[in-house]
Amino acid sequence: MSERPIVVAEGITKRFGDIVALDDVDLCIEPGMIYGLLGPNGAGKTTLIRVLTTLLRPEAGRAEVAGVDVLTDPQEARRHLGLAGQFAAVDDYLTGRENVEMVGRLYGLDAREAKRRTAEILERIGLADAADRTVRTYSGGMQRRLDLAASMVGEPQVLFLDEPTTGIDPKSRIDIWLLIQDLIARGTTILLTTQYLDEADRLADRLAVIDHGKVISEGTADELKDRLGGAVIEVSVGDDVRPQVLEALRSVCGEEPKIDPVNGSVTVAAPDGPRSLTRVVLALDEAGIVPDDIGLRKPTLDDVFLALTGHVAEEITVATEMSPGNRKRRGFAFGRSER
């Protein structure tokens, strides 16, 4: 990873009136990786993507895509980037093929080359059969894939995908994951935003957790988890004894435990691993408290996020067909409020 970074942001600050959407954001992405931007609603993910794709000028900072300064030479930067925004920007009354070809032409391709690449991409993303239907007959997932196809047709070095899987069904979600992995295999660099922890965990080589416009943690998923220590203690208890449990965890582990707002369980990083757990169990026993469940486990990105932001984790259920036996798997999305 000694190559020159392909996306650089330094000290990006963007305000909307009183709202500080981005607060001194730094970012550095190596070529060929999937970089995940993880954060709740209103964190500033879209704003950062808009700055990097030349749509928005920040008040401060500088940014580079494929070695081109996006603020001083946006038109050149646009030749090297592709954008699939948070909502599919496809034309309902054009066919899938016409949509992608149009974008190809606007990238500067001649008609023949735009046609050729469009046919190839539509084949690759599984829309070849629907290519000549108008988009208004497409499902939401097909529109999202078509939008991705349009962002790829210029063969940009860097693709910016803003919540590529939000609001689509689990099957389409997997399709898009596969597509993203296929793109990486072809050497494209991808910056994607997501509210889904499992998506970030599964796809991203590196992650930045962003909240209130600030990058609050950065690294690989494992690094982020390791920062919580190798293990966390999770205790499920009733509301009545939770204060005593919090006290016991606080005194043994030396850190403020977090309460999961969804299921009410209490977690804290275990500084000494199993020994911390033993001490907690003894302390609880002494106080005469029998928890519903207690255990030591590896931290998840959920814990990372909860520890970093204290935000509500909204639970969603995702049937993950890639998992063995098509079992149900739980995914998590964050948000302070419903969209």
């Binding site: 808009r50 794709t53 030349t54 749509l55 928005l56 001083t72 030479d73 946006p74 038109q75 050149e76 646009r78 030749r79 980037l81 592709g82 954008l83 925004g85 948070q86 909502f87 599919a88 920007a89 034309d91 009354y93 054009l94 016409e98 149009m102 974008v103 032409r105 606007l106 990238y107 500067g108 108008t134 349009a150 210029g154």
Partner: protein, 270 residues
């Protein structure tokens, strides 16, 4: 520095956008049909309901038929109302993220607005022609010659094009597709009704007449009347050539003011 897009590239990108905008009308022909229904209703309403009463006040150059007087005005009315499509189309593209996509592409910056306004003028040309056909069926006849009629259509298209840029500014300023539906009528209604479109301005109170005689819709309408009905249809002292020049000056003036304003609004989209 922004790389200067070549005029050739700009023309090519514009034609790509024009095609895209027109395809929508081809795929959804109802759009054109409904766009024609409203002016045809105006045509029938004014011709049959008010025509008898107003008919007496119109100059003899109209051949004694109110419809001959009305059609040139309605061409301009359709041009003005039809231009509202520019505002609607832009707000729709803005809210769907299509404008974001365009702005993230290495295309000519001018192509989005130019492509929109050119497509809309072609579309409005189709609506105007459809209405003219209906007018012809219910008795409209030009009193000069076919060249006069073609010239009249050209004036209507020039007005439609210039109004599209006014509407582009409105669309880019209002941004919201629902709000813009009403916003587009604000400039158009007073211009169309306080004009010579339906009645000669001589019948209006003097304060209103002062406005009506000196605004673009009247200028455009008079120019078309001159071309289609001859000089006798114009207010005393006006000539056909003079009124056509005035009309074209209005179209040019509107473009000179509103193209830069719309382009500036486009560049400032966030």
């Amino acid at each position: 520095m922004t790389t200067m897009a070549s005029p050739l590239r700009a023309a090519r990108d514009t034609s790509v956008i024009v095609r895209r905008n027109l395809l929508r009308n081809v795929r959804l022909p109802q759009l054109l049909v409904f766009a024609t229904v409203q002016p045809v209703m105006f045509l029938l309403l004014f011709n049959y309901v008010f025509g008898g009463a107003i008919g007496r006040a119109i100059p003899p150059a109209a051949g004694g038929e109110y419809i001959n007087w009305l059609i040139p005005g309605l061409l301009i009315q359709v041009a003005a109302f039809g231009a509202g499509q520019t505002a609607l189309g832009l707000t729709e593209d803005l809210s769907k993220g299509v404008i974001d996509r365009f702005r993230s592409l290495p295309m000519a910056r001018s192509a989005v607005l130019a492509g929109r306004t050119f497509a809309d003028v072609i579309r409005n040309g189709a609506v105007i022609t459809l209405m003219l056909v209906v007018g012809f069926l219910i008795g409209f006849r030009w009193q000069t010659n076919i060249l006069g009629m073609v010239g009249g259509l050209a004036v209507a298209m020039a007005f439609s094009f210039s109004m599209s840029w006014v509407m582009a500014l409105i669309g880019l300023t209002v941004k919201n597709p629902e709000a813009v539906q009403s916003a587009v009528f604000i400039p158009v209604f007073p211009l169309v009704f306080a004009s010579s479109v339906f009645v000669p301005t001589e019948t209006m109170p003097s304060w209103l007449r002062a406005f009506a005689d000196n605004q673009p819709v009247t200028a455009m309408t008079n120019a078309i009347r001159g071309l289609v009905l001859g000089e006798g249809a114009l207010p005393v002292g006006h000539t056909v050539a003079g009124d056509v020049l005035t009309a074209l000056a209005w179209a040019a003036g509107i473009l000179v003011v509103f193209v830069p304003l719309a382009v500036r609004a486009y560049r400032r989209i966030t």
